[in-house]
Amino acid sequence: MTVSQAHFCDALLDPAQPVPDGLTDGNGRPTTRRFNVYRNNVVVSLTDALATGFPVITRVLGRENINGLARLYLCDNPPDSPLMIRFGKNFPDFLSNLPQLAHLGYLGDVARLELALRRSYHAADSEAIDPATLGKMSPERLMDCRVTLAPAANVLRSNWPIHGIWRFNTEQNAPKPVPVAQDVLITRPGFDPVPYALPPGAATWLAALWQGETIGAAYDLALDDHPRFDLSAPLALLLSGQALISLTPKD
């Protein structure tokens, strides 16, 4: 009989299903172990891709647990594109919603950080403005500018110390994370994305810039959010991270 690809797929993802009829070893003997080569290739290669794409999550939970979680994740979230560099986009939500992991509430946001770092790594290249440009402008004129940020830049907000957890699991001698909310800016000066923990209010300022507000209007919004917000630190991060690619006066 004809084995349709739909039928082949069903048996591929569910080891409890029998091997489809119509497959042969060339001599009419059972083909279970032969079909299992494909089953194994699919699960092992996608589990490896998940572990490679989320190294901190894998370190926190251990490879054995990732192997088990990957099987569960793949049932409802097989890759929807041949681009493996994008695989795992639903993994943060999956981790957040899994009852067995409810006691590790930070996992979802840490996975979001890892996903954002990977996106930044593969994002389009861009040319940053010369920081000296800012020095030549009056503060009033600067506050009236809109900005374009690099495709490799990104901001994440979290109620968990995601930057501290990320550092603790990627750097030697990093301090133990303390339980605070942390917002993170990712920039990519050169080829390697770097996450920075942001001071209070900075994520509001950056989000407003992304929405097309001027530097000054975004500053007012950040002050509403955090009265002691200081513009200079996040602006310096954007400049040193080569994340500011253009300044356009409002009028």
């Binding site: 591929l12 060339g26 172990r33 097989p78 594109s81 994002a123």
Partner: protein, 241 residues
């Protein structure tokens, strides 16, 4: 296939010094579903700026119902499959504006419904679409062992005049339900001597062709990998002399 960053910078830099062979694993040319247009567009963009020396894909499928399985899945060799694969190859060649090469798969099982031999099937695809072939001699050895046929007979029946590139690689050894050897193409081990001998047999008939050593799992230190590349170069030198 990303938008920028280190991978593309490295590729650009390599392409300034070496001819590049682009080898796809994601087109699902044997798929029952239509080709993924977005993926084809990305590929056309890449081929457009990179201007590689060759582009190749596999006689296999990997996507169904919108899900990508990250493996090269097998096809029955029937008239239906032939029509579908030929139409997909036509579409790819038209979109890329160039001839592509198609690679023979590693087979772990066969289909009762197959009415063509793999070699005749590949020859007919070349005749219909004008595509060329990528001959993976490790896949020939793996499939022949797994299906109880002869690698030499496969090479004798294969349309060698269509070959534009050759692959060698290592495989793993397991056993099937009946205890018969089941070889698994894993690109994670040295090329075995019988596969090197097949390479010699093929090169004697085709003359020099680009040869790739595929080792992308458990990649060893450079001296080990370099020795494999030197052995491939030695095989080429023997037919160049």
């Amino acid at each position: 296939m990303g938008d920028g960053g280190r991978p593309l910078a490295q590729l650009r830099s390599l392409s300034e010094r070496f001819p590049i062979s682009v080898h796809g694993v994601g087109l699902s040319i044997g798929g029952e579903s239509p080709l993924d247009e977005a993926h084809l567009d990305r590929l056309a963009h890449l081929v457009g700026w990179l201007k590689p020396a060759s582009f190749s894909e596999h006689l296999a499928w990997s996507t169904h119902g919108g899900a990508f399985f990250n493996d090269l899945l097998p096809l029955p060799y029937t008239a239906d499959t032939l029509n579908r694969v030929a139409a997909h190859i036509d579409q790819v060649q038209e979109r890329l504006g160039r001839r592509m090469l198609l690679e023979n798969p590693s087979s772990y099982l066969a289909f009762d419904t197959s009415t063509w031999s793999e070699t005749d099937f590949l020859a007919e695809l070349c005749r219909r679409t004008g595509c060329g072939l990528l001959l993976d001699v490790n896949n020939v050895f793996v499939s022949a062992t797994n299906l109880g046929t002869s690698p030499q007979a496969y090479i004798d029946a294969y349309p060698l005049h269509e070959v534009g590139e050759i692959h060698v690689g290592g495989h793993d050894e397991d056993a099937d339900d009946a205890g018969a050897p089941l070889l698994i193409d894993n690109h994670g081990a040295p090329v075995i001597d019988p596969v090197w001998r097949l390479l010699d047999i093929v090169l004697e008939r085709t003359g020099p062709k680009p040869v790739l050593v595929e080792w992308d799992n458990d990649v060893p230190d450079w001296p080990v990998l370099g020795a494999e590349a030197e052995r491939a170069q030695a095989a080429l030198s023997r037919v160049q002399a």
